[in-house]
């Protein structure tokens, strides 16, 4: 650069340059380029400024090239003036590890060898698959903790905190209640030191999560029912007994928390005995109600009842207790002795003989009572060493300085040792996978048992064709993937093996619901850690990676080839119903796909959850109760989709029903006027709807059997009983279609030719009732007359189906239609002074008490009541507020009940934001449901009636309180 051509400011002062157009442009281009690269290149401007030296207005001055000049005309440039992202948000976010479960970092050490555990898997006779179930807080999880502590020397609970080893979710720990059923597999010795492989399913006790129990029960051969010694048989205990009987499982009882009898209730030994006996009797009474098998009795004498106190690490049966006795005092035939530990047999301290006429009862826990009493009063220093000495337990000094509870725990542990009593009980009374296989398959397999495959499964043959039944899906720690959990019934599943996954809709005829997948890794699940294995033979539980995608709830896993005859295992049958409904919607509509994905995942994770789109277009989640849905929403929001989700107020499902017989025969003609169907509707007999739903009676039975059932149980006449056409809306739907025509009046052959169409119309109609599109329930539709066209052309489905539906509706509407709502059964435990408050709270929510009685041997009362589900939202909180937190309630769906009032009474005016009096409720519910679904405000009844039918109505002068 020649410096003398420029002044000190870089202005050009040299001789005039020739201003060629082209040159200028090129120079311009080049300058621009340079300006871009090199800011100091000031002369760029000089080039332009100098030639004219003219005065340039401020506005026209150009200091920098425009973006267009820099990047060319085709490039769109945007200037971002503000930070779109707030400063608080890092530009590169740290990697976030989502974790929702507590897991062990590495395999913990165990008292047995892991190899040994894996070896035991090959001997099905040494395996026991057991579900631990019971009422809420009856100590299932604590009991498993004791087992864990006995087998895992490194895992110890912290001083006063329960370990809750099987509550692996953070939410479970926070809420202090089990949500998911968790499998634990370990090797436990019986009282003779023989090792057994125990697959134990720890299930939630809250009734809302009964579905988890169901999925556990399906995989097990027996249950251990936990009962709190102080509380006795509670709501869920009873339900579980019923459920286990239905599922044909071996039932054993563990009366837990026996320490409460002494420490809390301070019962003298005799009363404690009666209390325990009362519980056993109650259980036996229930068993005899629900089961037809008279041999199904539980008794400590039979060995299928054990006693435990998880808190103090105590568990014994009469047998194991007697064994301790014989070990201490020597030379007693402990089996004979065990038999005398229960019942009206007394211990005579003077003669040291057991006789039935003695005065003092031999308390079955001589240890627990004196030592715990002495602990409670606090004179441990004086009396304890003496007692311990007597029992031959030696503690070191430091141990003696422990707090009372750990000390007592330690003492008990020393005295009772490991839970061999529990093991004995399970081994003796719960069949091995091999022994229980036949029973299991009979109950759960849809295919025949006499085939080769059936035999292989019945024998639990590890070399047979692979059959694995999965009933639960566990999400991985980060909630991204799912692993299927199931039981191998025959064959051996190998890691990396290709398998065929059969879904719940698979049948031999319709093979669409099946997919070939490759198994990833396989694990044995022990709550917080998993043991990876490469093969799992028949009889065991297994956690499978890699085939979760086609599984919705349950699945049957089989071999991809060569096992074409395989059929599926029945889908789970729950003992509760999902009647609470919430509608969800993403706050940001564009996040709908994310939410759908989340919904899909919660659907997998919760066995009885239903997610669907309703006709109104809402995404609806159906669950068993408030706690259940709360957990679902937590998972949906935090675990699976991480988006904001709006939730509508909870509502319940309704049903539509009739209470009378149709006031006249309803008929309708097909649009081509060639067919005419006449029907009436009437309510079903009490209990019949439940029988159909519980599959006590099935439409697939042959006519004779079906007829006999209705004749004997419900007093139907032969003709009606033999001419049942269908249940609706599906094969387990609580409505019946009966052909009540007479062969002398109606051409049965012709009617038979349109049977399918009429049934379809009936099912369509019952699926969505005329009142508010909710299913019809408890209604019997009778075909009284039918005129059917001769030519097949004139009686096609198009003519008959919609007409049949219309007749169903008109018959329904003529039979005094009513709305039905779900009712909860509520069990409240409260101290005596709170009972009246419970009554008040219940009454305010349309509930009513059916029973209130003191719990024997305790200051508490149990109040049993019914409450409409729609009024039960917030009931628990309300109850706690009114009783200062002293009352505790659990509620579970019980039955359907008619909503008071006429839903079609137009004279009722629903005022907003006002509670309606009882007779207005049906109307209110109907109108609100219709609004929610986007239907017209009121039912247009005339739509379902033909003109001739309306004329008939007028002629007959039927009193219709509804204006047409």
């Amino acid at each position: 650069m020649e410096t003398d051509l420029y002044d000190e400011f870089g202005n050009y002062i040299g001789p005039e340059l020739d201003s060629d157009e082209d040159d200028d442009l090129e120079a311009d281009d080049r300058d621009v380029d340079e300006a871009d690269e090199d800011d100091e290149d000031e002369p760029a401007d000089a080039d332009e400024d100098v030639p004219g030296m003219e005065v340039v207005l401020h506005e026209d001055k150009k200091y920098y090239p425009t973006a267009e000049e820099v990047y060319g005309p085709e490039v769109e440039t945007l200037v971002q003036e503000e930070d779109a992202q707030p400063l608080t948000e890092p530009i590169i976010k740290p990697v976030r590890n989502k974790q929702f479960t507590l897991m062990e970092q590495e395999l913990p050490s165990t008292v047995y060898d892991m190899e040994f555990l894996a070896d035991l898997m090959d001997s099905p006779e040494l395996i026991r698959n057991v579900t631990l179930c019971g009422h809420l807080h009856h100590g299932k999880t604590c009991f498993v903790d004791c087992l864990i502590e006995q087998t895992h020397p490194e895992i110890r609970k912290r001083d006063d905190m329960d370990l809750r080893y099987t509550d692996i979710l953070f939410t479970e720990q926070e809420r202090g209640v089990g949500i998911k059923s968790t499998p634990v597999t370990m090797v436990l010795p019986d009282s003779r030191g023989k090792s057994f492989l125990f697959n134990i399913m720890d299930t939630p006790g809250h009734v809302n999560f009964s579905d988890e129990v169901t999925s556990g029960i399906r995989l097990s051969d027996g249950i251990v029912l936990f009962i709190d010694a102080a509380e006795g048989v509670m709501l869920n205990t009873e339900r579980l007994i019923k459920h286990a009987v239905q599922e044909r499982l071996a039932i054993t009882i563990c009366i837990n928390k026996v320490d409460r009898l002494i420490v809390e209730l301070k019962l003298p030994p005799t009363d404690a005995y009666y209390k325990l006996r009362h519980i056993v009797d109650e259980v036996n009474a229930m068993l005899s109600t629900y089961s037809t098998d008279e041999n199904l009795v539980v008794s400590p004498l039979l060995g299928n009842v054990c006693f435990a106190s998880s808190q103090y690490c105590v568990c014994f049966t009469l047998g194991s207790f007697a064994k301790i006795y014989s070990d201490t005092y020597g030379d007693i035939n402990y089996t004979e002795f065990a038999k005398r530990l229960w019942g009206d047999i007394y211990f005579n301290p003077k003669t040291s003989f057991l006789s039935s006429a003695s005065t003092s009862r031999n308390d079955i826990f001589p240890l627990v009572s004196p030592s715990s009493r002495s602990q409670v009063v606090g004179d441990c220093d004086t009396s304890l060493p003496r007692v311990l000495d007597e029992l031959g337990i030696h503690l070191v000094k430091e141990e003696l300085k422990l707090n009372i509870r750990p000390l007592l725990r330690l003492v008990c542990k020393r005295f009772f040792g490991e839970f061999t009593g529990f093991v004995d009980m399970c081994v003796q009374h719960i069949p091995s996978p091999q022994g229980g296989a036949k029973n299991k398959i009979e109950h759960s397999y849809t295919g025949g048992l006499d085939s080769d495959l059936g035999e292989a499964m019945a024998e639990c043959d590890p070399d047979g064709p692979l059959m694995c039944h999965t009933t639960k899906m566990y999400s991985t720690e980060d909630g991204v993937q799912f692993h299927a959990f199931g039981r191998v019934l025959s064959g051996t599943i190998q890691a990396g093996q290709p398998v065929k996954v059969l879904g719940e809709n698979y049948t031999l005829e319709d093979e669409e619901d099946s997919q070939v997948c490759t198994v990833g890794r396989l694990w044995i699940n022990v709550a917080r850690y998993q043991i990876e294995v490469n093969r799992v033979p028949a009889g065991n539980w297994v956690l499978i990676e890699g085939c979760d995608q086609p599984i919705v709830k349950t699945a049957t896993i089989t071999e991809p080839r060569g096992n074409e005859e395989a059929q599926i295992f029945r889908p789970l049958k729950f003992n509760t119903a999902s009647v609470i409904k919430i509608a969800v919607e993403p706050v940001n509509p564009s996040e709908l796909p994310k939410m759908l994905d989340g919904l899909r995942k919660v659907n997998k994770s919760y066995p009885s959850l239903t997610t669907k789109v309703e006709e109104s277009g809402e995404h609806v989640i159906l669950g068993t109760g408030e706690l259940y849905l709360d957990c679902v929403m937590h998972d949906l929001r935090k675990m699976y989709s991480e988006i904001d989700i709006k939730v509508a107020d909870p509502v319940v499902t309704f049903c539509e029903t009739v209470v009378e017989t149709s006031s006249l025969k309803c008929f309708a003609e097909t649009p081509n006027k060639k067919n005419k169907i006449t029907m009436i509707a009437e309510p079903l007999e009490k209990g019949l709807a439940e029988d159909i739903e519980n599959e006590v009676v099935q439409i697939t039975w042959n006519r004779k059997k079906l007829g006999e059932f209705f004749q004997t149980k419900y007093d139907w006449d032969l003709l009606a009983a033999r001419s049942i056409w269908a249940f609706g809306p599906d094969t387990t739907g609580p409505n019946i279609l009966v052909d009540d025509t007479l062969p002398s009046e109606v051409d049965k052959a012709l009617l038979g030719s349109v049977k399918d169409s009429i049934v379809q119309g009936f099912q369509w109609g019952t699926r969505e009732g005329p009142l508010c599109d909710e299913p019809i329930r408890n209604v019997k539709f009778k075909i009284l007359d039918a005129v059917i066209a001769q030519e097949p052309l004139h009686r096609g489905g198009g003519q008959v189906i919609p007409t049949a539906r219309r007749v169903v509706y008109s018959a329904f509407l003529m039979a005094t239609p009513r709305l039905m709502e779900p009712y909860y059964f509520v069990e409240v435990q409260a101290p005596a002074d709170c009972v009246s408050a419970v009554y008040t709270v219940l009454a305010r929510r349309r509930g009513h008490v059916t029973q209130d009685a003191p719990i024997p041997g305790s200051p508490l009362y149990t109040i049993k009541a019914f409450i409409p589900a729609i009024d039960s939202f917030g009931f628990e909180t309300d109850l706690r507020t009114h009783t200062q937190g002293q009352a505790f309630s659990l509620s579970v769906f019980h039955h359907w009940q008619i909503v008071p009032g006429d839903p079609l009474d137009k004279s009722i005016v629903i005022r907003p934001l006002e509670p309606q009096p009882a007779p207005h409720l049906a109307r209110e519910f109907m109108i609100k449901t219709r609004r929610r679904k986007g239907l017209s405000e009121d039912v247009s009844i005339s739509k379902f009636f033909d003109d001739p039918m309306l004329l008939e109505l007028a002629k007959q002068d039927v009193v219709l309180n509804y204006p047409m």
Partner: protein, 467 residues
């Protein structure tokens, strides 16, 4: 000279006011002479006027071709869908509106004087446009009135000068944006989108309003019904309606056999959309059948039990059919596309006019390229039944077609099972079509049959068929 005119759209019902004298004459003739074909001679013209008394919103070009019409006069309610074949004239009623109540309910519904409001009219109330605007525009500066703008070169509305057709640029000089849809045209201020406006509709609630509400579902809607003289806000029902359509989409996803119902033969491009739908449905691994039906009714559709869902191709106003009464749901082409085309997602926006879905339309989304889909089988859980559904995205060429023969090599492991669901359906039907009954019917001499078309055979007396 002979001119044949097809008059349709329920012309019998009422004579319009404010029309050409000669037209009134025709209408009066039509009104009191309810013959299907009436011909008379006025002022040296040999006019043939045909009337159809189906009150439809669409122009029936096919009917026009049947009578060999040279032009069509469409009377009354109209969806203003363009037609391509014949010159067409729309004649609208001038139904009375009490302007004062209309204005006062407008004030009530829009207390904010600065609100941005679009005025939309039912075609039969369009005549009050100027009067209403005159009353309101002084108070509400941001109001935008719609004018009728009939699409298509050969279409005219009554009183419209030909010159108006030339407004086609969507960008005016000052940056304002002109929106043309459903035969309406209105101007949006620059920088504003339609979401910033609310809509005031004058007319009864019905297909026309539903159509507007569905299309501009982000706008708040108010309506004024001149018959009941009430104004109200419509926003609540709109979401419900939209969500109901969402349910329809879910049903469409579940379906495996789709029936394409051709409900219009008038709207331009209907053939193109049929082809596009067939392709989309096929790619989604579903089967499609085509049905041409005149008026839809429950019985007609319920005749085809095999069909899981129907897609109705019709003008925007008729597409939104409330199918709750039907045995199988009826959806719109847009919903079918959402269900089948992986690239299109449900975002709450809704298209009623199928022409927007075509290539070149504003809402067109191309089908996913089959090569891009790495996984042929994808599993999804149906949100209706809770069962698993497999979505197979087959490529455009059916692979198996060339190998599709009943001969298969014998294989030890596999058994051949030609599971043909369609055939099993047929076997299950009670009526499988005309039976031949070979040899069962006696041989007779051929006889002369009926002649003519079905509405009036030649040997039938014609008068009896009128009512």
């Amino acid at each position: 000279m002979c001119l044949i005119i097809l008059m349709e759209g329920g012309a019998k019902e009422k004579c319009p006011s404010g029309m050409d004298n000669s037209f009134i004459l025709f209408y009066l003739q039509a009104l009191f002479w309810p013959l299907f074909v009436l011909s008379f001679d006025i002022r040296h013209h040999n006019l043939i006027v045909n009337t159809l008394d189906i009150s439809s919103c669409c122009v029936d070009e096919v009917a026009a071709e049947h009578v060999g019409a040279d032009c069509i006069v469409h009377y009354g309610r109209a969806c203003l869908s363009p037609s391509r074949r014949l010159p067409l004239m729309y004649v609208f009623e001038r139904k009375p509106v009490v302007l004062e109540t209309c204005v006062s309910s407008f004030r009530e519904l829009y207390p904010n004087r600065q609100s941005h409001v679009i005025l939309l009219y039912d075609v039969n109330y369009d005549h009050i446009n100027d009067d209403l605007l005159a009353l309101l525009s002084s108070e509400y500066p941001n109001i935008s009135a719609s004018t009728l703008h009939v699409d298509g070169e050969l279409c005219y509305s009554h009183g419209e000068t030909h010159g108006q057709h030339n407004v086609s640029s969507s960008q005016c000089q000052n940056g304002d944006q002109v929106v043309q849809q459903f035969g309406r045209q209105f101007v949006l201020k620059s920088g504003l989108t339609i979401e910033d406006y609310s809509v005031f509709f004058i007319g009864h609630e019905g297909a026309t309003m539903t159509n507007f509400m569905m299309t501009w579902n982000r706008c708040s809607f108010c309506s004024f019904d001149p018959v009941t003289m009430t104004g109200r806000t419509e926003s609540v029902s709109i979401n419900k309606a939209l969500m109901k359509r969402y349910y329809a989409i879910e049903r469409a996803k579940d379906a495996s056999v789709v029936g394409i119902l051709v409900g219009t033969l008038g709207v331009a491009n209907y053939l193109t959309i049929i082809e596009q739908l067939k392709e989309t449905i096929h790619r989604a691994g579903k089967k499609s059948y085509m049905f041409a039906m005149g008026k839809l009714n429950v019985a007609k559709l319920a005749n085809f039990l095999e069909i899981d869902i129907y897609v109705l191709i019709a003008c925007p106003e008729n597409s939104l059919l409330d199918s709750s009464e039907f045995y199988k749901p009826v959806v719109t082409p847009f919903e079918m596309e959402v269900a089948c085309n992986k690239k299109r997602e449900w975002s709450g926006e809704y298209v009623t006019d199928f022409r927007d879905l075509l290539p070149g339309g504003s809402k067109h989304v191309a089908l996913a390229n089959p090569d891009d889909l790495e996984d042929g089988d994808e599993t999804d859980v149906s949100l209706i039944t809770g069962a698993l559904r497999m979505t197979r995205f087959s490529s455009s060429e059916p692979v198996s077609s060339s190998h599709d023969s009943s001969l298969v090599l014998r294989n030890q492991a596999l058994t051949v099972a030609n599971a043909n669901t369609a055939a099993t359906f047929l076997a299950g039907r009670s009526w499988q079509g005309l039976e031949q009954k070979l040899g069962e019917t006696p041989v007779v001499k051929a006889l002369e049959g009926r002649k003519g078309i079905a509405i009036a055979y030649e040997e039938e007396p014609t008068i009896d068929r009128d009512h």
